[in-house]
Symmetry: D2
Amino acid sequence: MFFASDNWAGAHEAIAQRLLSASTGFAAAYGNSDLDKKVQARFSEVFERDVAVFFVSTGTAANSLSLASVQRPGGITFCHSEAHVIEDECGAPEFFSNASRLVAVSGEFGKIDPAQLSAKIAGYPEDAVHHGRASAVTITQATEIGTVYSLPEIGEISSIARKRNLPLHMDGARFANALVALGATPAEMTWKRGVDILSFGGTKNGCWCAEAIVFFNPDEAKEMPFIRKRAAQLFSKSRFIAAQFDAYFEEELWLGLARHSNSMADHLRAGIGASNSARLAWPTASNEVFAVITKSAAKTAESRGAKFYEWPIPVSMPELVSDNETLIRLVTSFATTEADVDGFLKCLAA
Amino acid sequence: MFFASDNWAGAHEAIAQRLLSASTGFAAAYGNSDLDKKVQARFSEVFERDVAVFFVSTGTAANSLSLASVQRPGGITFCHSEAHVIEDECGAPEFFSNASRLVAVSGEFGKIDPAQLSAKIAGYPEDAVHHGRASAVTITQATEIGTVYSLPEIGEISSIARKRNLPLHMDGARFANALVALGATPAEMTWKRGVDILSFGGTKNGCWCAEAIVFFNPDEAKEMPFIRKRAAQLFSKSRFIAAQFDAYFEEELWLGLARHSNSMADHLRAGIGASNSARLAWPTASNEVFAVITKSAAKTAESRGAKFYEWPIPVSMPELVSDNETLIRLVTSFATTEADVDGFLKCLAA
Amino acid sequence: MFFASDNWAGAHEAIAQRLLSASTGFAAAYGNSDLDKKVQARFSEVFERDVAVFFVSTGTAANSLSLASVQRPGGITFCHSEAHVIEDECGAPEFFSNASRLVAVSGEFGKIDPAQLSAKIAGYPEDAVHHGRASAVTITQATEIGTVYSLPEIGEISSIARKRNLPLHMDGARFANALVALGATPAEMTWKRGVDILSFGGTKNGCWCAEAIVFFNPDEAKEMPFIRKRAAQLFSKSRFIAAQFDAYFEEELWLGLARHSNSMADHLRAGIGASNSARLAWPTASNEVFAVITKSAAKTAESRGAKFYEWPIPVSMPELVSDNETLIRLVTSFATTEADVDGFLKCLAA
Amino acid sequence: MFFASDNWAGAHEAIAQRLLSASTGFAAAYGNSDLDKKVQARFSEVFERDVAVFFVSTGTAANSLSLASVQRPGGITFCHSEAHVIEDECGAPEFFSNASRLVAVSGEFGKIDPAQLSAKIAGYPEDAVHHGRASAVTITQATEIGTVYSLPEIGEISSIARKRNLPLHMDGARFANALVALGATPAEMTWKRGVDILSFGGTKNGCWCAEAIVFFNPDEAKEMPFIRKRAAQLFSKSRFIAAQFDAYFEEELWLGLARHSNSMADHLRAGIGASNSARLAWPTASNEVFAVITKSAAKTAESRGAKFYEWPIPVSMPELVSDNETLIRLVTSFATTEADVDGFLKCLAA
């Protein structure tokens, strides 16, 4: 009953086996091996477009270097107020962007509100040297709280960004989960809707450590080899990342893993929706479920070995829980079993 | 015949298998798993002292964050003029150290000359605000050009550093190779000789990706969790690093792998020393061999599939090669075979 | 009728004359002249305590270097949501602090709300590496919108900061105006109430360019000479700043200038309070007045040569102005005359 | 007998008087006053070309922000090994350039040797991600040791830079002294010889504090308003800089002041050249004179009140002084009198 995070799982067997089989033999270092090149080409197929791909070690690195690549002096990146970049990366996005600033935009259910975004951007007129200047927008798909931007919602954000020539970055730490939730193609969910740079995460969906930065316009990636190297993110034995992605994309393994974890979340959602001692805090569509449960149910679950995090009450929902309740986050992964879910639901019923 | 670099090898089978077996099951993320803790404790045993250990993704990260942890405004780190930090890390050490500066110190055979170091440090008196100020010293063991500091040599450097209260960092990307070359213990080659912080590299010696920063005084590591996280170097599935080190240290695998690669280098050294068409450029003691060979021998070797890099002529040895010769670097690894070495030596003889 | 800002005035005659008389003769550079030392000692007298003083070129520099001196990796400085550091310094505080982050705290009338501050700080528990960590608090006295923290209010903020060992910085760009508004001594308004570091501004109160960073505990200033030099803020002919402060402090000129500008603001406040076509937007106590006036009155005033800025409607007061009204800021200075004020009030009456 | 530095002088009377007369009246802040605009236009006249001008507070700021404006990730700026940027700015150039690196190029008499420059640049091939990449070249005119690049020498450096598309910056802290030494026009010594960005110093030549960054191609200055503001270098009462430059340029005052200080240096050079107890260390052409004098003569001079610095023996001239001698630097300024020079020469003769 491990629902603490999708990064508590190990690696999917197919990925682990591919690493094993890739471990023999010699190959050029620093991303120049045949396997590296094969996988880079595979990304272009997946996205139906020539893309530039850069492997990095963490999702924080992917986000931070993406934003660093579009940084400007005095620059400001707009993100949701609960975004991972502003809440959970210890200042890395600013650190790698030569101290560019993140400005939080509010919006329901973890998604940037377009009107709020327009208003915030308007607060930074083109030549207002004192305030700093609008430089980029970043959205998270799926969001930190389990929701998913629809394709038109992405398009709306990108058209606002476009008006001020702001590049649009997508934090796709849970890209696959959002993708299968929407039933969209990778192209549809990104560049066809105006996304310029993507943090493509594999770690949370069955890899050990496989994160990539994807530029949909490779010309805009010219600085990235230096940005990445200077950021200490250029792996020598880069093929160990490539091997993971190689297995990840094979026969659509990645989509299957995401479908599995989403379906385990569906199962949780259904069970909680039908429960007397718990309720869904807000609707989610990916592999994260937020539930309000009684404190006693939480204790019972923990005593039976369930792992999950209590979550801070969102500022926008001050009356979400009553005194004897608590808000919890449940995250499913490729490794979650139906038995885990049923076991947890039984705790609630106890 | 792959002698381009030790990072062209994959992962040793025992390490790859351990990764496979670690891939199942759930475990706490961000370095808090049982396996992470077991391996952290193992480091303290290896070094015969309570140490603080931080896994990172690359040797550049290990060096850069080590130096960042001792950075001061206007700070200067002294390194050898051919050190990896100043030659091959694209400015990462300065980047992570809030623009602290590296100052090169010369010295024969890749090793800092103690008298030169003293003289350089003296150029930065304590309160000379214009020049900047001495902040740290870093040495590389084994060095970039295959040599190894003796234990007294390390002690001499550290005593110079100590006089000005400068912490001493050791870049141990090839730590194991140096260790077995000296026949020393890890403790003897580090803190017993005054080393404060170590970049402990496993990648070049049979791991996929296993680098660690080791603080011999854990009190001095208090900022490091934040420095590492902000540097985007905190792995979520950190146990995948731990698993590699777990196998690495088991039954002294790491020392065995280093002994193997050093012995392959010995074999190369012997063959080149005895050759008519090649000679050793300078004496080396670890898994790197530098040879002056005829350009035609180089071509022959390449045409037969040998991989190696031509190396720039050191400034201090302008007459090292004649017109029809070239300087090459040959690096052996855990995966180098006797047949590889013999094959290469045959190319020279051809 | 120049009410755009107190930095539209030139320099007070006594200060300008002192510069003239200081221009002859030779003196040690970089802050080591006799005049520099005399003025540094004068600061200790003014603050009734041994202080360490560092001249810099702008208020932004004073704030940024103050905060840089207490920066920590992943660090967070708490400021009011309308503070100059977060609104009007183009990211300089983060830039000089190695990308430390500013977190906005709300509060009525430009002042940090203590409860909000406590709550925000609590969101960054000591060892929560992902969020970053609380590192400093900064307040502005007088505030950006003309209000003034009372002495007990400063004490309350500092006691909250103290609980987490956060140094407290005060942005005193309009220090003198706040001081005379409170009738307090410099000591009472700073270190006696828990302020650790002060940006002491002279520019807005009659100097050309005279800003100083004051450390109330000189031991905490040890890094500052290097921080300042590296920040390109060490003047060679530093005595030209010293000369300004020398005149500034002489016979309490600075307090007289602040009293004058505050009294001109009083005059404005009285006139606006009694006006039919204008009203005070909120109560202010220093040399800034915020008024809601009809758009037609604003046009009239501008056409008659009045200079002032329209001001954005505060988020917390969405209904402050009606459709035919606008919010304006009026700033008085040492150079404002009664005739200027009367002239402006006549515009309103027109 | 003040020869310690030209920044030990105060301000020339014409400049000090202009500041006094500019101190009355109101004017737009942050560089938007009429006087600011007048002086900016004056720069374009002086340089016979439309230029973009940015006032800053120190020469270190001018150099650092100039280089920051052309920084690139992993970037390297080539400078002379004795340049002010690498020796005397406490790391500010790297700090403001997001940790870009300075690489020292040797050359006789303080001037970059063109062949050495070419060789150094060649060490950083275009796509060599590990080494970092060539990004800019900076020269100092007059140099740190009193020599002056001839116009063809500047052209030669710029043509080397041009081959790799590296912008050329000139540190003109003593621009006027070099200019009058060459008898060239400002245009001839800069953009007509390929200089792209200039640090134009007025402080050492009779101003209190007047430094400017000049872009000869204003299109390349688009980021500079934000770079400067974020660097805390945008003066509010900017006209106090403008007023100094206004007087500085009037009736060629600046050239007259430089001619005076150079002629005082000529007088020193002649006297030392004819002396028995001293000799010129190397030929200089501007307002700096380097002399080898007996230690006893140095003591005598100091005891009689002469101020000067002993200078480190250049690495390239190890046998410059004998045991009983010392190397000293003598700097003249607009305020140096013939009596000062004669007085000093008498000390030598004593």
